[in-house]
């Protein structure tokens, strides 16, 4: 039995039609275009949910194993006699899960933007871009062919470029969009070459066949792929690593992450959709898609994935502690969480129990999409209210924005990994997988988890506590919370952040398609949870009341904390450890390194190119005589080079 092809095909087609419609007639539709976009997105999300239901509960499982089902396959281009490019739709647990995530988050962002982007001059353009992005992302996750993936991958890049640069009058937005596009293009280059290498070796680009041909030791394709080498590394490893480079570019892994913080120049709902919940996990999705090849034929490449993941995770967490722009904090936290997903894949095995890391990674991808979208949308509400991204302009907002406050708190608890919120469950699986495989990664992961709790609550307290509530008399913001359209998504996403952790994820998404129990070990959870609580506690000490009057401080604090003991001893030590040690010794240099060396390198490359372009300008003198001399020099040079030297 097969799932309903037309139903599935409609999931990406509806947003595409919506894009065409809004793109061509948007101006006339005006404010109505938002409603139209949202409605079509809702239909698409409904279909995705229906598909997920059909797949997971009715047709997907055969003999206890979830199957890869190609529901539609159109032979498109014959590349060479063996390799063809097809356009198809592949259903398997991860693509179905991504369908749900993408359409759901996209729907939330569509609803939210009705309020957030209201009155924007290019309102309908914004919605048409959102539709285009959703279409590309859905096409990406449904791809049945590596090349199809690449095409949609690029489309996703283009639509992200358009959305980051949406506020085109802001020079910073324009340069950010350019940077994002160029950096990811460099990564995509690796992806393309990787595709060609794998394709030529396996003589196919079809996912099913490709994986089939490259995982069995006796397969002749695999043997040639391992035998041929370049610079001492086998073609297979090159192919997989280059594909990972492509994934690392989209997923903002170090050192290709430089575009992500700048990408926050886009409208906040866009950050929520693209740069937090969907597009940036494309790299994780890609590695997961090719996971059997990684794990069964080329564990070395998987180790690279693991170490890049854990390093990015820690690196980003350290930097997140020092940022003052709230969207940048969230950007770095995204990078850190994606690092989590990456290293979870890196430490995972394939079959049965060993596949815990894979399951954890996908689970975290799922939960993260919910609470990170919530965080961004919450931040959007705050920015909408304050008209600033800077922490110092905020504080004491809990009274003014009660709904945002509560939902944001839920999201913070979820990302910090406090039970029973969603992030706790997925993080547990990841840490458990790391614990069994690689203690170094496990401990670094633990530290990162603690830091995550710290910087998230630093953010939380700085926004909602810290200063006294702005009194009504001096309040120049006449509106409080945003309109209903902005509150509804917050509410729904908060519900999800609480509940999705209880989904028995191992029943649905695993590396080998077989059932894997989500086991829960209370003893194991003690360390991460208490570390996270420690981080929260620390953040509370520093940021909850920083600027309040001592008298008020004493009142609001419990007796224990108000004691001199805290003031003169622990406080100082904590202050020393975090402010001096972490901030100055680790955070500042890391941030500096990020800004100066990594960014600088990227700028240097750009500078060198344009400098060289300036240099050769003189050659174009406008004199025919000098052209003739160059011509003659060329002939002579070629003659000498190719007849006598080469």
């Amino acid at each position: 039995m097969m799932p309903d092809t037309i139903l599935i095909a409609l999931i990406p087609i509806i947003p595409f039609l919506c894009f065409l419609l809004l793109g061509l007639t948007g101006k006339k539709l005006g404010a109505f275009s938002g409603l139209l976009g949202t409605a079509s997105m809702a239909v698409s999300a409904g279909f995705a949910a229906l598909t997920a239901y059909q797949y997971f509960f009715h047709v997907g499982k055969i003999d206890g194993v979830f199957q890869k089902m190609v529901v539609f396959n159109y032979h498109w281009l014959q590349f060479t006699p063996e390799i063809s490019i097809n356009m198809g739709m592949l259903l398997d647990p991860i693509s179905v899960m991504m369908l749900v995530v993408v359409t759901f988050v996209s729907l939330m962002v569509h609803i939210y933007s009705l309020g957030y982007m209201k009155g924007e001059e290019r309102f309908s353009v914004f919605y048409s871009f959102l539709s285009l992005f959703t279409f590309s992302m859905l096409g990406l996750v449904l791809s049945a062919n590596l090349f199809q993936t690449y095409i949609f991958w690029e489309l996703v890049g283009v639509s992200s470029f358009l959305l980051i640069g949406f506020y085109y009058t802001k020079p910073s937005a324009v340069s950010a969009s350019k940077k994002a596009f160029i950096v990811t293009r460099f990564a995509d280059l690796g992806f393309l070459i990787g595709i060609l290498i794998l394709g030529f070796n396996a003589k196919t680009l079809d996912f099913g066949l490709l994986i089939e041909r490259l995982i069995h030791v006796e397969s002749p394709y695999l043997q040639t792929a391992i035998a041929s080498s370049f610079m001492g590394v086998s073609a297979l490893t090159w192919g997989l690593l280059l594909i990972f480079v492509g994934g690392a570019g989209k997923s903002a892994m170090f050192p290709l992450h430089v575009w992500l913080p700048d990408a926050m120049e886009g409208p906040t709902p866009v950050s929520a959709l693209i740069h937090a919940a969907t597009m940036v996990v494309a790299g994780v999705f890609l590695v997961a898609r090719l996971f059997p090849i990684f794990i069964l034929s080329c564990p070395v490449a998987l180790d690279v994935v693991a170490y890049v993941g854990i390093f990015s995770s820690l690196f980003a967490a350290i930097i997140a502690c020092t940022q003052t722009d709230i969207k940048r904090v969230l950007a770095y936290s995204t990078m850190s969480q994606i690092g989590y997903m990456m290293f979870a894949l890196g430490v995972s095995g394939y079959e049965g129990e060993a596949g815990l890391g894979y399951m954890g990674s996908m689970f975290h991808l799922f939960t993260h999409a919910m609470f990170k979208a919530l965080l961004f949308l919450g931040a959007g509400s705050v920015i909408h209210y304050i008209h600033s991204n800077e922490m110092k302009d905020m504080g004491g907002l809990r009274k003014a924005m009660p709904i945002t406050h509560i939902t944001f708190l839920i999201a913070c608890l979820a990302i910090a990994g406090i039970p029973p919120f969603a992030g706790f469950f997925s993080k547990e699986e990841i840490l458990a997988a790391a614990f069994h495989k690689n203690p170094v990664i496990f401990y670094v992961g633990l530290i990162t988890a603690a830091m995550t709790a710290f910087y998230m609550f630093r953010l939380y307290f700085s926004i909602f506590w810290n200063k006294p509530t702005p009194s009504a008399g001096h309040d120049h913001h006449h509106h409080g919370e945003g309109p209903f359209t902005m509150m509804l998504p917050l509410f729904i996403l908060a519900l999800c952040s609480i509940s999705v952790g209880f989904i028995p994820f191992g029943q649905f998404v695993t590396a080998d398609g077989q059932f894997l129990a989500n086991e829960f070990h209370p003893m194991f959870s003690i360390a991460p949870v208490s570390l996270a609580l420690g981080g929260i506690f620390l953040a509370m000490l520093f940021y909850k009341n920083a600027n309040e009057l001592p008298a008020k401080l004493a009142v609001s604090m419990s007796v224990l904390y108000a004691s001199a003991y805290r003031k003169f001893y622990i406080d100082e030590v904590y202050l020393f450890v975090t402010k001096r040690l972490i901030f100055n010794l680790l955070g500042r240099p890391a941030a500096w390194f990020d800004r100066t060396i990594v960014d600088g390198l990227m700028n240097l490359i750009g500078g060198l190119t344009s400098g060289f372009a300036e240099m050769i300008r003189g050659l174009q003198s406008g004199k025919v005589q000098s052209y003739a001399i160059w011509f003659f020099a060329g002939v002579l040079g070629f003659a000498v080079l190719f007849i006598y030297l080469w």
Partner: protein, 475 residues
């Protein structure tokens, strides 16, 4: 009976060139008889005739040899001629607006078709003598065309520079041809290819002849003439030079390298590698800092020539196929861009990139056409340009020359940078007084619709590539 058969055969094999000659004769008589004003029917009539010429070229049946090997036609060559004819037709359609106010519009079309005929003979040449004559036939009318903006000094300068540089390159080419004759004792392609001895004189001949081609294709460092000539010439002529003329030469180079110099494949592979790498890179660097869209397109076409050489270096049926396929796609993409530019320039005289800021505001459709063309030139999927480049790279990759591939891929990224710059100026940036709404006359509209359809659809129909592939197997 025999005579009759021969005549029929002659007519069929040479149908394309004879057809063009017929069009030329029609134009000639029309010119002789025209009074104060050109007949309004002449232009559409010629367009229809030209369309007929294109259509008969695509059926892939014209094949044969005439004049003891002087003239050769194969299905692939027929296809190549069809592609060039299609490009010329599109340029004629786009030039309509500009020509309407020109006193010598009939001559313009005559010269253009004469050039096209020269190119057709060039592709069919099976003999060095024929080759050289056809080459000159395709060059000299071009110089006259460059000078067609009669009152503009830059236009005359452009023609002057083209003539001087062409003379220089022809000299080198002739030198190469005479050396080849000296070394092998023949002018016939097939005989030459059979009598190579491996001497240095033959290698030198290869390099001299390649340099002559390199000049026409604008390979760095033989490209310097292009910027000045392209900038000074009228836009339709610039389009013709950078697309059609280049395409004809790259097709002819394919024949020359694959058929005549097949024995030296290892050597010319290296030549193509170096030439292509330098051309792509420097072409990009030059293009990056151009402010004038015409010059910008001219330099970007240099980079595209670099990719073409990469595909050519594949030295296989795939190599030939990818080159022909890319030219087809390139004609659509580049003429789409030039078409919009020609309309804007004819209406307002503006050609700078910054003039195009906020172009979207009054001309949404035109700016999308322009943007699509640029996307295709930059090779962004799913436009046809992406597939064109992909096939070129795949053909060139058959030897697994990693540095070559990396250089090509890097250049693709760099080129994105400046293509996007223009797109951004049009779609995103604003200015106080953007260009006014520009009327699109009927003929230009047809041309643009064809270009857009080509850019969007060519990639989606795998059959096109497969068809060219079957033709080139017999090549």
């Amino acid at each position: 009976m025999l005579l009759e058969n021969n005549l029929l055969n002659f007519l069929l094999v040479m149908l394309q060139e004879l057809g063009l000659t017929a069009i030329l004769i029609v134009l000639l008589f029309a010119k002789l008889m025209e009074g104060e004003k050109t007949s309004p029917m002449l232009y559409p009539l010629v367009m229809v005739l030209l369309l007929g010429h294109v259509l008969i070229s695509f059926d892939g049946n014209t094949t044969g040899m005439l004049f003891s090997g002087m003239y050769v036609n194969t299905p692939l060559i027929g296809m190549e001629k069809g592609i060039l004819g299609l490009g010329t037709l599109l340029i004629c359609l786009q030039a309509g607006t500009w020509l309407k106010n020109h006193k010598h519009s009939t001559e313009f079309i005559m010269l253009l078709i004469a050039t096209l005929m020269g190119m057709d003979y060039l592709l069919s040449a099976g003999n060095l003598l024929m080759f050289y004559l056809a080459l000159e036939l395709s060059t000299i009318p071009l110089a006259a065309l460059c000078n067609f903006d009669l009152e503009k000094r830059r236009s005359s300068e452009s023609a002057m520079k083209l003539i001087l540089s062409s003379a220089f390159s022809s000299g080198i080419l002739l030198f190469g041809i005479s050396m080849l004759y000296g070394a092998t004792g023949s002018l016939n392609f097939i005989e030459i290819s059979r009598s190579f001895m491996g001497t240095e004189m033959e290698m030198l001949a290869l390099i001299f002849i390649f340099s002559g081609f390199a000049f026409k294709i604008a390979v760095v460092p033989f490209h310097f003439w292009t910027a000045d000539v392209y900038e000074g010439a009228p836009i339709p002529v610039t389009a013709f030079l950078s697309v059609i003329s280049k395409g004809a030469m790259i097709f002819a180079l394919t024949t020359m390298l694959y058929k005549v110099f097949g024995a030296y494949a290892a050597m010319w592979y290296n030549i193509l590698f170096v030439a292509s790498a330098i051309t792509m890179t420097l072409g990009n660097l030059f293009a990056m800092r151009q402010m004038n869209i015409k010059r910008f397109l001219a330099f970007s076409s240099i980079t595209q020539a670099g990719y073409l050489l990469l595909g050519l270096s594949g030295a296989s049926a795939e190599g030939a196929t990818s080159v022909v396929y890319f030219m087809l796609v390139y004609i659509f993409s580049n003429l789409g861009a030039f078409g919009v530019l020609a309309l804007v320039s004819a209406a307002t005289g503006k050609e700078e990139i910054h003039d195009f800021k906020g172009f979207y505001k009054n001309n949404p459709v035109l700016s999308w056409v322009f943007a699509l063309s640029l996307f295709s030139l930059a090779g962004i999927p799913p436009t046809a340009g992406f597939f064109g480049k992909l096939f070129l790279i795949t053909a060139g990759a058959s030897r697994f020359n990693m540095p070559f591939l990396v250089i090509a891929a890097l250049n693709m990224v760099i080129s994105l940078f400046y293509y996007l710059k223009v797109v951004r100026a049009m779609l995103v940036e604003q200015q106080d007084e953007p260009l006014p709404t520009i009327a699109v006359p009927f003929y230009a509209r047809i041309a643009l619709v064809v270009c857009v359809a080509g850019v969007l659809l060519t990639g989606f129909f795998g059959q096109i590539y497969e068809y060219i592939h079957t033709l080139s197997l017999g090549f």
